[in-house]
Symmetry: C2
Subunit: 133 residues, 2 copies
DNA sequence: CTGTATCCGTGCCGATACTG
DNA sequence: CAGTATCGGCACGGATACAG
């Protein structure tokens, strides 16, 4: 029974074995993963915290994505309390290595946003803000 | 405004309006888009060239992704000949702005590959190689 | 050579409800 | 609070064949 998978049990299989792009995509290509990593870069949070930040994500999908990120060694799940179990999610040291990528995507996305929508975008309309650790 | 930037006809709608991540993902989040941009960074190619490079992509999907990249102003389609129509695809100036992101993803993907598979990956097994312009 | 048409499988994601 | 269960849908991506 697979309990934890430190970098030997990738959540998603690489469709193109040996291709760096595909490998990266398998790890951080989920719809919400970059956003989750982005918010986790701000500091550890718990489940509900991520739920609030990460827009209209549903608990099921959030749990899935978190478990995949965990399986890829990017995110660490820490149980801080015994009973009410305020679990805390945080980036692993390895997880911090993706932050430049996350930031790169975010910055480019911002520029792209301004390009496509011009000035039509207010500041932080939904949930994603700017800044990064 | 912009001389030839479509930039008003995004191929994929942004599911989270105003979110840079989502915007970026809508533009370059396609399964093959990063790979295509990567190869296009090596120089202009034609349809068949991309087909060969981009692994087992099917013509339909290739055409789709290319049209989306074109709609987002990242890729330019140039017809070089009249009849046999050797069309050439190339990055637009704006398209080159994503190259850092592409490279970042690729580099991280390589590291991730080595992390997950150790030394089990031969050199360029399928189609993706290394290097970039 | 450069695509398009048609059909289809399934992976990804979502809503709601329920449990420790 | 932190998740899991179940169900479903739809879009994304794919295969094959055909056309300009």
């Amino acid at each position: 029974m697979d309990k934890k998978a430190p970098a030997g049990n990738p959540s998603r299989p690489n469709p193109l074995p040996g291709c760096p792009m595909a490998a990266a995509f398998a790890a951080i290509g989920g719809k919400w993963k970059l956003t989750l990593l982005y918010w986790l870069a701000h500091g550890e949070t718990h489940f509900a915290g991520l739920r609030r930040r990460a827009a209209p994500i549903t608990p099921k999908v959030l749990a899935e994505q978190l478990r995949e990120l965990e399986a890829d060694g990017l995110v660490e799940r820490v149980e801080t309390g015994p009973v009410p179990a305020p679990v805390v999610y945080r980036l692993t040291p390895y997880g911090t290595t993706v932050l430049p990528v996350v930031e790169g995507v975010r910055v480019w996305g911002e520029a792209h946003l301004r390009r496509t929508q011009g000035e039509a975008s207010p500041a932080v309309p939904m949930s994603c803000a700017d800044m990064i650790a």
